[in-house]
């Protein structure tokens, strides 16, 4: 492996091996539509309770309002985040993070890395934390957050979360100006593919769908169904009548919260949510997130005895 990576996927692979070598469980993307890597249960749910945790993964993320039909140099409605969550946050997390930048070919001797105040808050997850956006030569390359509260619960211990916007980071490392021109696999591969070869058509299709086609009546109905389902799942007895075991269905309920969140994002992109309604929808999703967090802390993984 040369010092400077040659493709988008090489950057991902280097991050995977780096964090694997630092002891993280390398997980796979969550199999649902989410707006950010934070929504993966490996972050949201696992940051709750006192059970130690350490995971890293790529998460495809969808932000329907950011669609630009693949024309904007760095705005996409579907993009990748690289996410690391370690609980409790280790004392050398900043150094570990800087090591990951070195691993993808950023030479600390030549670049200006800065930690600039950025408080993180997710109104739909009922979560907040303090940290920074990390700048490399004036460009934001990551979010670095110490979780203080998730789903309305104080975090004890505190998790350290790192989020890398992969496309933007890779474009910088590879010196590419338009995301669609970025080499996806090795440019010398027998069949060399650019990011555009892989994703341009998707961006066009989804931009049209998100902005103009998605059926808002169906979306609204799905939103309400997910909301109902989430509450219904959690209303069940904790003891499973069939096995006699205590089984709290936190994650199945959380799936519904994730669905509601994504449906809200789609409705937002369709422009059918007014300013005042917006707050109300966010509040409804937050209620679901909190219910799921309440349920998760009653499970073994959530630290319940």
């Amino acid at each position: 492996m040369s010092d400077t990576p040659r493709s988008f996927q090489e950057i991902i692979l280097r991050l995977q091996s780096y964090w694997a070598a630092k002891g993280c469980a390398i997980m796979q993307p969550y199999d649902m539509e989410v707006g950010a890597g934070t929504f993966h249960p490996a972050t949201t749910l696992r940051s709750l309770g006192n059970v130690p945790w350490s995971a890293a993964y790529v998460q495809p993320s969808r932000r329907p309002t950011d669609g630009r039909y693949g024309e904007n140099p760095n705005r996409l409605q579907h993009y990748y985040q690289y996410q690391v969550l370690i609980k409790p946050s280790p004392p050398d997390l900043q150094d570990l993070y800087l090591g990951s930048l070195k691993a993808i070919g950023i030479d600390m001797e030549m670049h200006d890395i800065r930690f600039v105040e950025d408080d993180w808050e997710s109104p739909t997850l009922g979560a907040w934390g303090l940290g920074w956006e990390v700048w490399c030569d004036g460009m934001e390359v990551s979010q670095f957050t110490y979780f203080q509260q998730v789903g309305g619960h104080d975090c004890h211990p505190v998790s350290g979360e790192l989020t890398y916007g992969l496309e933007r980071l890779a474009m910088y490392v590879l010196g590419v100006d338009h995301v669609m021109d970025m080499p996806y696999n090795d440019p010398d591969a027998p069949i060399a593919l650019t990011y555009g070869d892989v994703f341009l058509q998707n961006e066009q299709e989804y931009s049209r769908f998100n902005f103009d086609i998605a059926d808002t009546d169906i979306l609204l109905k799905h939103f309400e169904d997910a909301e109902k389902e989430c509450a219904a799942i959690l209303a069940h007895e904790h003891v499973d009548p069939k096995t006699g075991h205590k089984i709290v269905m936190a994650q199945p309920a959380y799936d519904q919260a994730i669905k509601a969140s994504h449906l809200f994002n789609l409705l937002d992109a369709r422009g059918v949510i007014s300013v005042t309604e917006r707050q109300a929808y966010i509040g409804r999703v937050r209620t679901l997130s909190k219910l799921c967090a309440d349920a998760f802390v009653q499970t073994a993984a959530g630290g319940a005895a």
């Binding site: 280790p90 408080d119 030569d137 460009m139 211990p157 505190v158 300013v275």
Partner: protein, 677 residues
């Protein structure tokens, strides 16, 4: 006399919090030391992105022994009282002494405190300071319970004198104080030991950390100015940005870069806003005022003299400005069509949930502007059109991105829409004046819309009972009222506020703000009250003219004496009226005048009447006051020569009626009863 050095080393502290944190550290520690009985010669606090430091010089080595006696309850007092006394004094009951103080035996507590070494005191004070530090926002990390602004890694706490340095033994949540620290994150990462403040500052510098924020700011400012000057350009001053940037670096390296030609068509304000908000760049302008370069401040030196860093920053700026240009061009296209699309969009923007949408606000402003226009010399149609366009830019992409540019962008867009210069100016100026030092618009159309905007805001929030209370003024209504006052006074406008505001309490709010405004000009509240009591007090210009004339009059010898004469007349008259149960307003008759002084007063009052009434009609307050001043001599002479309560009831009544004329004439100018002294 030892010196104390403290350093709290953490992960990056937000730039905006550093200066106050350093000051808080100094206050908490020095207050704590003094309270525990230590004294010191001097202290100084410092901050960098990763550390707070405090140096205390000439500290006493230990606190003195103290002995305090406290007198307690009588012997035989209820147990509860005795226990309470012991608790307060920190002694046990058997330690109390009984003493006879002449009225029986009383308990005494003798509290003796042995002096303590400075190190013990410092350890306690520092731990308390760390645990109770007033960060605006703080956090926990790892498994700990301690809160700090970001994870706290190490503490230096040493006492040093000629004999050397010693670590003050203390720890907070497992962080043990020591004598070692680190330099720059990348250029001086190794730990090193320090033995005094001088040693600390010098070693930090060697490890590429400038400890003092002002020194970093000076370095940045002078280096950036020099680079700009060398290129025949000028650095745009921004003190807030300078302080912030000085808080983002431990070792400032100034780099100047160019802005691609593609973006030079953007308004300079947009360039500056985009570079400052997103990238914390300084702007560099040429002689014409066009922003042509930027200055960024890196936190490190590199082998290539910052070339890679600058190239990266330039690239980021290119992307940012591409966005800005995209917004600007989209906005100009909409502006060219008159901005109707923006105005329509305002129907979806809430102004306040009880006061409707911004579109409704615009309607109200338009009507009010048309109504105000003739009173301020503006064309009603033009003022209305200006109000209709004033909020259009709020829907633009540029304002979505840079809210601080509201108004300014409106001005550009109004020009693009082909609207008149007056309308374009009003789009920007109707927000003014924003503060006491902000310029007041002087263009009639701008004045009309600026007044309409503020009067509507005040009436609206008054109507929904969202008035300012105490220090709470979330809608900046005090500022709006002061804005109206300054618009009226500085432009010399005769405007009856009562035409536009219905609520009496809102009018008194204006009067309160006016008092504050005039107090700053050295006019005391009683003088203002004397004018406020007169009719027409909703005309602020008239009110201020009257107040100023009165204030000037009261400073003269005649004025001061006339007030005394008036008060004497008024007091005698009021007492008589109360006693007799009548008002002596029948008119005094010259034929009952006995003495020359009395006759002279009749003549003087006739003369004053003849002058004051027309002067008041002409709003010539100075003339009226000077006519009133002529009464001083006759009034004084009258009181010296004449007995009001004469034996003859006819004479008495006539003289009281004469006093009533004095009162009436004086009160026609201002309510002199309100004047103090």
């Amino acid at each position: 006399m030892p010196d104390l050095l403290i350093e709290l080393f953490s992960e990056e502290i937000p730039a905006r919090m550093q200066a106050k944190a350093a000051a808080d550290l100094q206050r908490l520690i020095t207050d704590g030391l003094v309270e525990a009985g230590l004294t010191y010669a001097s202290a100084g606090a410092f901050s960098t992105p990763r550390r707070l430091a405090l140096s205390v010089e000439g500290l006493t080595a230990e606190s003195p022994n103290t002995r305090e006696e406290r007198k307690g309850p009588k012997v035989g007092a209820p147990d509860k009282a005795i226990e309470g006394f012991c608790r307060g004094a920190g002694v046990t009951v058997d330690q109390l002494e009984k003493r006879d103080v002449g009225k029986g035996e009383v308990y005494f507590a003798v509290i003796e405190k042995t002096g303590r070494p400075a190190a013990d005191i410092i350890a306690e004070v520092l731990e308390a300071a760390v645990r109770n530090f007033p960060w605006p926002k703080s956090m926990r990390w790892g498994t700990g319970a301690l809160k700090w602004v970001r994870p706290l890694h190490s503490i230096v706490c040493i006492l040093s004198d000629e004999a050397g340095a010693q670590v003050v033994p203390m720890s907070v949540d497992g962080i043990e104080a020591g004598d070692t620290t680190r330099g720059h994150r990348f250029m001086g990462p190794d730990t090193f030991a320090v033995s005094s403040f001088e040693d600390y500052e010098a070693k930090l510098k060697r490890a590429k950390v400038i400890l003092r924020a002002d020194e970093r700011a000076d370095m940045i400012w002078s280096e950036a100015s020099n680079q700009a000057f060398a290129a025949g350009l000028e650095l745009v001053e921004d003190k807030g940005l300078l302080a912030e940037v000085a808080g983002l670096v431990e070792w400032p390296v100034v780099l100047m870069g160019t802005i691609a030609d593609d973006f030079l068509s953007l308004p300079p304000e947009v360039l500056t806003a985009s570079m400052k908000e997103h990238q914390k760049f300084f702007s560099v302008r040429d002689k014409t005022g066009q922003v042509v370069r930027f200055v960024t401040v890196a936190n490190r030196e590199t082998k290539d003299q910052g070339a890679t860093i600058l190239a990266g920053n330039q690239k980021v700026l290119f992307a940012r400005l591409s966005d800005a240009k995209f917004f600007w061009e989209n906005d100009l296209r909409i502006a060219k069509t008159g901005g109707t699309e923006w105005l329509d969009a305002l129907t979806n923007v809430t102004f306040h949930n009880k006061l409707g949408t911004v579109a409704e606000l615009v309607d109200r402003m338009a009507n009010l502007s048309a109504q105000i226009a003739p009173l301020v010399g503006a064309d009603a149609t033009e003022a209305e059109a200006a109000a209709r366009f004033a909020k259009a830019d709020l829907s633009s992409e540029m304002i979505y991105e840079f809210p601080d540019l509201q108004g300014l962008m409106g001005r550009y867009y109004a020009k693009e829409a082909g609207l008149s210069d007056a309308i374009a100016a009003a789009a920007q100026e109707h927000y003014s004046p924003l503060g006491p030092s902000d310029d007041v618009p002087t263009e009639p159309v701008s004045i009309a819309v600026a007044l309409a905007e503020k009067l509507d805001k005040l009436s609206g929030f008054w109507a929904i009972d969202e008035k300012p209370t105490g220090s709470k003024d979330p809608f900046a209504l005090r500022r709006a009222a002061l804005g109206v006052i300054r618009l009226v006074l500085e432009n010399g406008l005769s405007l009856k506020l009562g035409t536009f505001i219905q609520d009496d309490s809102l009018l008194s709010f204006f009067h309160d703000r006016l008092k504050v405004y005039l107090r700053d000009e050295g006019i005391s509240h009683d003088v203002i009250d004397a004018s406020l009591a007169m009719p027409g007090n909703d005309d602020l210009l008239l009110l201020v003219k009257r107040t100023k004339a009165l204030a000037a009059f009261l400073k003269t010898d005649d004025g001061e004496n006339l007030i005394q004469g008036f008060k004497r007349a008024n007091n005698i008259l009021s007492q008589a009226e109360e006693k007799d149960g009548v008002e002596y307003s029948f008119g005094a008759d010259l034929k009952f005048a006995e003495t020359d002084e009395e006759k002279a007063l009749f003549a003087a009052l006739d003369a004053a009447d003849a002058k004051i009434a027309p002067a008041m009609t002409a709003e010539d307050f100075a003339g009226a006051m000077s006519a009133m001043a002529d009464l001083r001599g006759p009034i004084d002479a009258f009181f010296d020569a004449v007995q009001i309560n004469a034996d003859s009831e006819v004479l008495r009544r006539n003289r009281l009626n004469l006093l009533h004329r004095i009162r009436t004439i004086c009160l026609s100018v201002a309510d002199l009863r309100k004047i103090d002294g």
